[in-house]
Symmetry: C2
Subunit: 137 residues, 2 copies
DNA sequence: AATATTAGTTTGATACTCAAAATACTTGAA
DNA sequence: TTCAAGTATTTTGAGTATCAAACTAATATT
């Protein structure tokens, strides 16, 4: 019985995060897909198209147009691969880095907000629980 | 310092849930938007276009085409509103109910999976923590 | 050297999204 | 009651996202 309630709460949390994320992204003038691309390149650093497409869960065809648009917005750039002339490395421009950091800060602020009334103890326990959950699926 | 790590874990959880959800939805032959519509109508019951659009966070123009497609798939239907002839109530068909229940079960299974190595105590504490988080933003 | 494989782009088609205009109906005020 | 204003939904026009399949160029294999 309890599991039903828990499931409901998890879904509610997911939906709320989702809505929050969409709001923040929209304010930044990017689409969700574009933001996701910036996030991954920001975290991974210079990365090949193919690899990036895999991490995003899209085809390289989809990624090509997406990277085109982000390049137009001056947020990232294609750098020729040194040893493989078929390939590029995608990396953030300075402006892209800015956007990435900004978004990162938004996340930090949200996390602080969520933890507002948690004691040190509770916060730690919550973190441990999440890590356990992450290992389970 | 700790907050950064926690933020990272929360993002990881969110991304993982997102990927999971996308996979499940894709298998069901629906798009994410279509699934979301089914979910809300499933939870809310008969609902007006305008209200549904608001809950989905899209314009009514967007919803019109989306509902058209779901109607073609026989998952929901437009029922004329009794007292206001401009308006419809959107409701699930039997087939739509099936899809909704199926998805619901997937969620329950995932929750069980996530809780696999949690004691009764831990699970309860985790649930309480999530509810606290939900109140904070 | 010839063939197979790989990285990325292009193409054609469908879906999602919005803002703005259009349609049909309801409501409120003269 | 009638007519103007407001509301619910649909339609239209334009941009983005997405995929599968075809294509190009370069690398790897045999």
């Amino acid at each position: 019985m309890e599991i039903k309630e828990l499931s409901k709460s998890i879904i509610e949390l997911y939906e709320k995060l989702s809505t929050w994320e969409e709001g923040v992204v929209k304010d930044s003038g990017l689409t969700t897909a574009q933001n996701h691309t910036i996030e991954i390149v920001g975290h991974e650093g210079a990365i090949k198209m193919k690899e990036l497409a895999t991490k995003l869960g899209v085809t390289t065809g989809t990624l090509t147009v997406s990277v085109d648009r982000l390049e137009q917005k001056m947020l990232l750039r294609r750098v020729p691969h040194k040893s493989d002339r078929r390939s590029y490395l995608i990396e953030l421009t300075d402006k892209g880095q800015e956007v990435f950091k900004m978004h990162h800060n938004h996340h930090l602020n949200l996390t602080r907000e969520m933890m507002a009334d948690f004691s040190e103890q509770e916060q730690l326990a919550f973190h441990v629980a999440i890590k356990k959950v992450l290992n389970n699926f």
